[in-house]
Symmetry: D2
Subunit: 427 residues, 4 copies
Amino acid sequence: MQQPLTEEKVFKDPVHNYIHVQDTIIWRLINTKEFQRLRRIRQLGTSYLTFHGAEHSRFSHSLGVYEITRRIISQFERSGYKDWISEERLLTLCAALLHDLGHGPFSHSIEEAFEMNHEEWTCRIILEDTEITDILRDVEEDFPRKVASVISKTYEHEIVVNLVSGPLDADRMDYLLRDAYYTGVNYGTIDIDRILRMLRPYNGRVVVKESGMHAIEDYLMSRYQMYWQVYFHPVTRSSEIILRQIFRRATELFHVEYPFRFMIEPLLDLFQGEVSVDQYLLLDEALVQTAFMQWTLEKDEILSDLCSRFIHRKLYKYVEMESLNTEIIDEIRRSFAAAGLNPVYDLEIDYPTDLPYDIFHPGEGFDSKQILLLDRHDKLREISEVSDIVRSISGIHRGRYHLYFPQEKLKKVLANLPSSIAEIFAR
Amino acid sequence: MQQPLTEEKVFKDPVHNYIHVQDTIIWRLINTKEFQRLRRIRQLGTSYLTFHGAEHSRFSHSLGVYEITRRIISQFERSGYKDWISEERLLTLCAALLHDLGHGPFSHSIEEAFEMNHEEWTCRIILEDTEITDILRDVEEDFPRKVASVISKTYEHEIVVNLVSGPLDADRMDYLLRDAYYTGVNYGTIDIDRILRMLRPYNGRVVVKESGMHAIEDYLMSRYQMYWQVYFHPVTRSSEIILRQIFRRATELFHVEYPFRFMIEPLLDLFQGEVSVDQYLLLDEALVQTAFMQWTLEKDEILSDLCSRFIHRKLYKYVEMESLNTEIIDEIRRSFAAAGLNPVYDLEIDYPTDLPYDIFHPGEGFDSKQILLLDRHDKLREISEVSDIVRSISGIHRGRYHLYFPQEKLKKVLANLPSSIAEIFAR
Amino acid sequence: MQQPLTEEKVFKDPVHNYIHVQDTIIWRLINTKEFQRLRRIRQLGTSYLTFHGAEHSRFSHSLGVYEITRRIISQFERSGYKDWISEERLLTLCAALLHDLGHGPFSHSIEEAFEMNHEEWTCRIILEDTEITDILRDVEEDFPRKVASVISKTYEHEIVVNLVSGPLDADRMDYLLRDAYYTGVNYGTIDIDRILRMLRPYNGRVVVKESGMHAIEDYLMSRYQMYWQVYFHPVTRSSEIILRQIFRRATELFHVEYPFRFMIEPLLDLFQGEVSVDQYLLLDEALVQTAFMQWTLEKDEILSDLCSRFIHRKLYKYVEMESLNTEIIDEIRRSFAAAGLNPVYDLEIDYPTDLPYDIFHPGEGFDSKQILLLDRHDKLREISEVSDIVRSISGIHRGRYHLYFPQEKLKKVLANLPSSIAEIFAR
Amino acid sequence: MQQPLTEEKVFKDPVHNYIHVQDTIIWRLINTKEFQRLRRIRQLGTSYLTFHGAEHSRFSHSLGVYEITRRIISQFERSGYKDWISEERLLTLCAALLHDLGHGPFSHSIEEAFEMNHEEWTCRIILEDTEITDILRDVEEDFPRKVASVISKTYEHEIVVNLVSGPLDADRMDYLLRDAYYTGVNYGTIDIDRILRMLRPYNGRVVVKESGMHAIEDYLMSRYQMYWQVYFHPVTRSSEIILRQIFRRATELFHVEYPFRFMIEPLLDLFQGEVSVDQYLLLDEALVQTAFMQWTLEKDEILSDLCSRFIHRKLYKYVEMESLNTEIIDEIRRSFAAAGLNPVYDLEIDYPTDLPYDIFHPGEGFDSKQILLLDRHDKLREISEVSDIVRSISGIHRGRYHLYFPQEKLKKVLANLPSSIAEIFAR
């Protein structure tokens, strides 16, 4: 039942102009309630508090990932590359589309707070009797399992896995373009047409024709800039920290049977650590924001303060430090406590880090994160062997420690802190 | 206390590139909880269900309106136009920024459902002891009243009112550009730099230098296209209809003391028709979506069905009709009832209409909705007198009747409807 | 010998991003000297004197027309429309690519001045033993004739002719987009992806699916705006007038055997009215500009003045008049002569006009300039029957008379003109 | 006589949207014949043979440099920075506008071929009694000298020189943006608004506020990519090589009194090495192209072949070599000669190179090519001290040897070359 639509359907999309749906199965998947739920999960979590334009959802990103994958496959088929397995077209498209299905509200923070994993949730939603499962079963009984195995990277045909999650996958390309578009920063503008034209299926991997090297350099640069300008922006980190503290405090209160003025089922299950698929699907950012809004009125001062900070965007300030060790941290916490601050909630330490591209280690073979170039003689080389600029940036490690804290509270007690500690925060 | 900031602050904005804040008062207003609340109200209501990119908030639109107004004033001041009152700069900027402050969640639908008016709410929030009020009072005791009177169009200096809400105001220019950007349609791309350069303050009105006529023609065309392509899109209307039906059903149930499984304060107040400013500020789209999500599980079938339709985007279908009268409508409703459909909830009639530009009626003087051109001899003429194309489109009235209905339900009973009725819906 | 290239070649293009060449024949045609000559002919003639960005050549436009045609055909083939003749693919592509091959330098002006016709020249270059002819003959002996007959609209298969020159042809779409891009005006931004997706081959014509109506409305509006903002811009007309006057003066001088300090062969042939294909191919804008530059040093004052005006951009000024008749014109010329001005060279009258779209006359059948919509029931309707906005603008006729003249010269004798004439020019 | 215009004039520009002219002097300078001549000199020389969109002139670039400079100064004045000398506004604007005035046709190649220098020519045109000189003298008698001294970097106020030609000057910013726009590559898209906002005049230099570091990193990356993707593109180099060979051959022929069928004055002067300002101003790309076109018909086979190659774009092919020394080169030339090839005209060696950014050498002070960051404590640091990414790319040296040759000719004699030589060219 792998039927094409009698007439192609399109979605108007600011990034790709149009998203083309050509298969009945894809069309039906998009119209399930599980997929529509992604409209209520923002692609960039709390980044909209830093870049007000970044209010786009995982729904639009998922359509974008599907569309790029569709174009790659269509290019593979038009060119008749023999290393592409054309029977796997629909499977690959489904996996690309559904890839982010399991993301929860403010995904990164909630996963950290409750030790969840969105990939596992994606697989559960695909496999545990949802509208999605039913539609996939219409392809073949075993199709849900196949899709899930592509997402969990265990599917037998490596080329499919590599297309859906490799170093040059559609996911990364769409988010760079889309996040650049919605934030308004122009670092993420890559030449996607050229990159797509240069991709080749080769021995189970998606590699790049050598003449596409410069486009890849530009892509890695863009990625690097987006990480530091957008994804690791200290104001965004500050809002994520508040978010995690809210989850931490609410869990603490839950375990001491604090009488929340607002508490509904999927949150209860979350605090208990036992969430069913049905309950999980009720979780979205609307619910989280509603809970936080209601909790601004809670009696527990820590919770209500944190929630007000999040909802009304009164975030923690930060200072940057080149180096830091556990002794200094302990000292700070001790002197915070002595001065009447909360050593846990009034200080948070963050160390964002990203290696723009991991260098090739000769003799170790190609690992799955490497970008490989294919030359005229069908020889593969890892990109940092060939590109000076990729080699140059491969080792760069730019993280610095950031200390986040409530400025007004700290100001009041600044005089009570040891001067060595005070001066850290006094700038 | 009209202090400039020691250093200009900027917001990165995809539409205007940067939004420049130069006054302490503006900066403080943006950071109030009342203004931050606009982040949780979408600019285009339910349009995101038609154009998935249109997830932008009234927060970003309000910043945009402020920015355009700032540029207009800055041009007026640079050029030294004598009809501009430079003392009114801060007042105008505050009114531009706060103009949409009173919008509720899914504004148009909620206003219709509960007979509210966002302009009144804007004035209440400005005047009734909020963080906003406090900051405005720092300018002068009477400043909140002044800002509110600009918004309610009663302020003494007409030029200020005209700048904030006239036929060429910053509000319209920002929303055309912004809605085009986020939906991805390219009908809204107007040459804003040129339009702004052509604006002149003249006798209490903002008029256009004659040589800017073509840019205005283009602006009116864009406006026309955006109305029909985006704002009146039948899928969006369908979702608004569902929304209004949910509010209607919930109110009915509320008045018969139906035991909602989910009901919290600001909603109660809304159903009772008595909302305080404090309660109003708790209302946002997160809350409305959360309520609807919870109500998908209600026992009342009408309410749970409508909520599922909205949340999971299973909207009503529609048919278009050139003409329609109350007799036909009554007949349809009767035969729906006879066939077991709900004559109220299973049929909704919509008649969207917009006049692209109201024509000038000679001898009647210039009314406040007209766009006036200023020629070299300082003579004013209404634009449709001069522009063939504006005159041509002025009379166009494009509305058609749309009948919305639940397709699956209707299909089941189609055979039971009189054939004259059945064929309307059978296409 | 209709061979595909072993690997697709691309040209980087600012308008279409990439232009894809897939056939050996197309690749070879682009690399002929006749096609390369188009690099030395500007797409917009003298418009670069008004819009400095508009320096793009007919070479880039021709590639663009080819690319759009390629995409239309590829869509037709992908969708399997039965009214498309797939054997005509290469013929259509060649005709689209070569369509403008015969354009001379500053085409419109030179054609008027020397009564030439670029379409005829295109056919001659295709047919008379050039590199182009040789390559086309490699397809089949009769192929040059076929290509020429498509261009002269006499080819037997109407659908091919309609694709290459119809009301929705690739030529118009490319020039709107390209001229908007290079001038920098944003009136020409049409949604080409949507338009292309809506095109259907139908009974020998390219028609539009009814749901594409709004995209076509927008296209016609853009076209209208581009005509009045760019193509008919009075400064551009002024430079075209100077150009024609130069050609006129030089021809006059040639016929009285004036000893030009600079004169080379293809120009001689041009003045004599006998140009061979070989000589024609030596004509380009570099040559014309070089001649004009050299002629700024000629002894004939009229010629040297006109050439200086063109080369150094000291153009004629203009006044607009609502109405004008031959009597007034005669009177102006007489009083010019009496005041010592040159009645021929010091006054030029221009009346630009364009009907945005010609209205449908019921009962007369569909003519080849009409845009036809195809509804769900396969019924054709002319667009102005269906679209209010197209009907509204169909009759608009916006031309006004423009009088062009050398301002400094006229100023000096203004006092000697009758006051009724003087006041026309005195503004 | 430093008069503002009664009404600001604008030029529509695709890159900056509008270019604003506010001073009578600037307006008059633009309308001189010397400045208008820049319309006939392409900004990117022969690059249009590689990127067909790159047909833009130095005229539009010069306006762009003026506009960026105007914005920088306007920001300096609005912010009231004390290290800016506001009396130097007009001087700086004039120097920015006129900066490229002396460029000849296909500037880089002609300068190499005839040992000329465009900066010297700029100064001569400014100083030696042209329309430009007259207008500048209207400001003050000494003004032409001042403008020339800014351009030759000897003007007394360093900040003016640094603005017009420093590592972050308007020239570089405009050409990156403009060349990216017209070629269509998207590597050159820098965040110019942000960069401009971050510039500060400081002790005679334009430096960058520290928080602008990432925008500068992005700018340096873009510059690096544009060099390698556009400016050093091997096809462009090939056309430049042909160009230089034409000039070389024509000069040789001139010195042996070869009877050119086409030869006019400014070319004669050029070959003689004695060009007056008047003759220089007659030189433009139209003339050079016309000469080359006529020379395609010359009897000298070397000249006519080279000219045909240039005009009809039949360029030399190239091979890349990692290393090369004079012995190998000599051997190649010898074996070329032995095989009947021309050892001078049939082989050209090219070694493009660019250091993306020169690293800081501690202890040596800041040189004028370095980009300096200004921190909160008014301390200056060279950017590569602070930015990992700039430091990483500073040392990169990417040049490779390219050997250019006429492929068809070489193919014919390949068998006559020693196999070690043949295999270099045989790929």
